[in-house]
Amino acid sequence: MRKNFPVLLALAALLCAVPARALLTVTAETDRNTVQIDDNLYLTVTVSGDSASVPEPKLPNMQNFNVYSSGRSQSISIINGKITTSVSFTYMLTPRFIGAQTIPSISVFNGREKAVTNELTVTVVKAAQQAPQQPAAPRQPAARPQRPSPAARTAAVKGERIFLKAETDRKSAYPGEQINISVKFYTSVPLSSNPQYMPPSFKNLISEDLPPVRNGETEINGIRYAYSEIKAALFALAPGPAQVGPATVIAQVPSQDQIDPFDPNFFQKFMAMSGAQGRSMEFTTNLVKLDIKPLPAGAPASFGGAVGDYTVSAAADRPDARAGEAVNFSVTVSGSGNLKAVIAPKFPDLPDFKVFDTMSSLDVRKDNDVITGKKTFTYILVPRSEGRKTVPPVRFSYFDPRAGQYRELQTEPVTLTVEKGGQAARSVNFNPGTPGAPVRASGSDIAYVSDQAGRDSLPLLAGAVLSLPWWVHTGPLALLTLSFWLARFNRFKLANPLLFRFRQARSEASRDIEEAEALIKAGKTNEAVALLYDSFLDYLSDKCGLKVSALTMKKAAEHIKRRFPATSERSLGEIRELWEALELRHYSPGTAGKEGASDLAKKYSLLLEFLEKELR
């Protein structure tokens, strides 16, 4: 054993060194190894994985090529419940410099695994030179002789040697309807190097490149121009205004400066000019504004926002199956339009089947500058019982922008012959393990992202309370202080009723006088005098702290003298006089004329003023 130990150790080390099977893979290849400077080459990056979706590759910064997306195609296969996805991303590369150019490693990362491609090297040769090792690559379609656009003619009239123009094929469209934009770079002078193109920004639009770059020559106003045209398909997102920002081209333009042969620095300038690459110039297009019309009303219930021209079909991967066995059922939407935005048609209720998640695969083509292709939605159906089972038609609606109306399509019904299921077909197992084996956790992962758009009520309420300004929270304290004071005041008032009667005597008497004056004006002199009499007695009662029933003129005078020794005899005399006068009028109503009652009210009022100064 001791002898074999090093061998065992080496074997163990070897076993450990065997890498775990990588589930995520990425490969990159170009359609050729040599390309002319005025030609394009295709780079295909294929990402494969074991889930329904694979990450998009992250292209590194490539200064030596202009890169255009040229579409993608996806294939999903479900074999024995195992899902394999392979997506090919195609890019068109336009070389910028002559020589051996490197395409750096391209990486993909799905959150768990990372995969990278090898570096690729491409030889870029001069335009006239044919690639030596490779058979001639298919040339890009030659640009048809075109009539220069009015904008190009305007620029040419101005005598510009180099200019850049952007034009759309229409100024108005529906959301999702294809609008083609053409950015043309005209030059009547040879450039020092391949210019660098910076695409425009878009507002309320998404874009899809339409490669290849078209090159050609045209004559405008007698000037011969070479041009390069870059096209893109645009799709508006929502009704309203949309705009294409300025596109930019940076080019090395030969210097136009003439050298005076008699210039003392002639040789110096000549040498400098011949060695220079020219000066870097930037050309931009104008802003292009578009009007996006709203879709008309009356969309069918099955309309999911698709705009274009489509057909729809459905098929199962086999005509017969056993109960409990998985059947792949595909609904394919084909046609022209923004297929990326087409969503899965609503699947009808199928009581005879268990329906599992939808997976979609996309195949986009860009022939003749029209985005076409197909999008396939794959459902996994598991028949519940034997017999002839039918999947009813699936409805799909789209808006046809040419006709300006909605169209509704439906697939043909698909019938499956389902036989009685065997033991093995009782359940669907997408990750087959040992039958009957207990459930074992094979790993753990983070929970999926949340679709909840809003906050819960409790955090929202907390946020609302905490967002109140701080001084609002002093409110309850102020209220507490106020109620404390009010309670104490009430208690004091209850404990000292005479004091409050004494303090309020004047105000009550004044109120009575006003009321009496109103009665006098109304001609009710008797009631006025009665009111004044009662009021006067109440006033004296409050000031003396005696009950009205116990109040006589004598008692009142005595109390006043006792409580307020500073009271003058004149005041007492006035009190007596008013009392008698009121008593006389009160008990002999006939004597109470209108003027007499009014005098009494005035006298009472004056006496009040006087007494308030003395009875303190």
Partner: protein, 248 residues
């Protein structure tokens, strides 16, 4: 009054739906398609719109986790946790991300149920609850003065006493939470960790390093460029660049 309260309660869920649901679904589709960077950009827009919405932070944490940026992922989960500590998904993902960085959500030896109860309400909710109890106590006491003549046997005064007692409890809870791992804390978000210096400047000696994703206590925020941070488990403190730490 009752109708007004009912209307307010009914209006709450409506106002709670703050995000544009279409946008969120779009970003989640990007996440689903493995375009985590693009999804993250979208979630960040949502956070900028409504910083108090826990789901923006949570989803951004998920995207960062998938991008293998553990420090920022822990920070985003921790923010979501401080906003909504009751969510099982947020707790689960925070714990998962913490375990990836050698930490645990529930401290060693602490019963999980007790830890759950301790964090059952967020600090914001606890502060709001304290304020509401303060309001209730003051109003009930004021009513007690006016209606019951400040007799403690009256219903208003009893309500005031109960509110006062609950207020004291919530303040004690809030005080205890100040010493929790997520209070006055930050997360090391710099890839590869941060250096802990013996002073707030590059001229001071580096004597420790805090790994990426580590939750640290922020002891001093006074300096322009440096935080004074502490690692309670190791019992050390030092100064780290503010750009390396995200305050929770």
């Amino acid at each position: 009054m009752r109708r007004l309260l009912l209307a307010l309660l009914l209006a709450l869920p409506a106002s709670a739906a703050a995000y544009d649901r279409g946008e969120l679904v779009e970003f989640n589709d990007l996440y689903r398609a493995g375009q985590y960077e693009e999804a993250l950009d979208g979630y960040r827009q949502l956070i900028a719109k409504e910083p108090a919405n826990q789901w923006g932070w949570y989803n951004a944490g998920n995207a960062l986790f998938r991008l293998n940026r553990m420090g920022p992922a822990v920070y985003h989960y921790a923010k979501a946790f401080t906003l909504d500590p009751r969510s099982q998904d947020i707790r689960g993902n925070l714990d998962f991300a913490l375990r990836h960085t050698g930490q645990k959500l529930v401290p060693e030896g602490a019963p999980a149920a007790l830890h759950y109860f301790y964090y059952i309400v967020s600090e914001r909710e606890l502060k709001a609850l304290s304020l509401l109890l303060f309001w209730l106590g003051c109003l009930a006491w004021a009513a007690g003065y006016l209606l019951d003549g400040n007799k403690w046997s009256g219903p208003a005064c009893r309500a005031a006493a109960a509110a006062g007692l609950l207020l004291l409890c919530s303040l004690a809870w809030l005080g205890a939470r100040q010493s929790s791992a997520f209070s006055s804390a930050g997360v090391v978000t710099r890839a590869g960790g941060t250096r802990m210096l013996s002073g707030p400047g590059d001229n001071f000696k580096t004597y420790a390093s805090a790994p990426e994703g580590r939750i640290v206590k922020i002891l001093d925020t006074g300096d322009e460029a440096y935080y004074e941070i502490g690692l309670p488990k190791e019992g050390i403190k030092g100064w780290a660049l503010k750009t390396d730490i995200e305050k929770i």
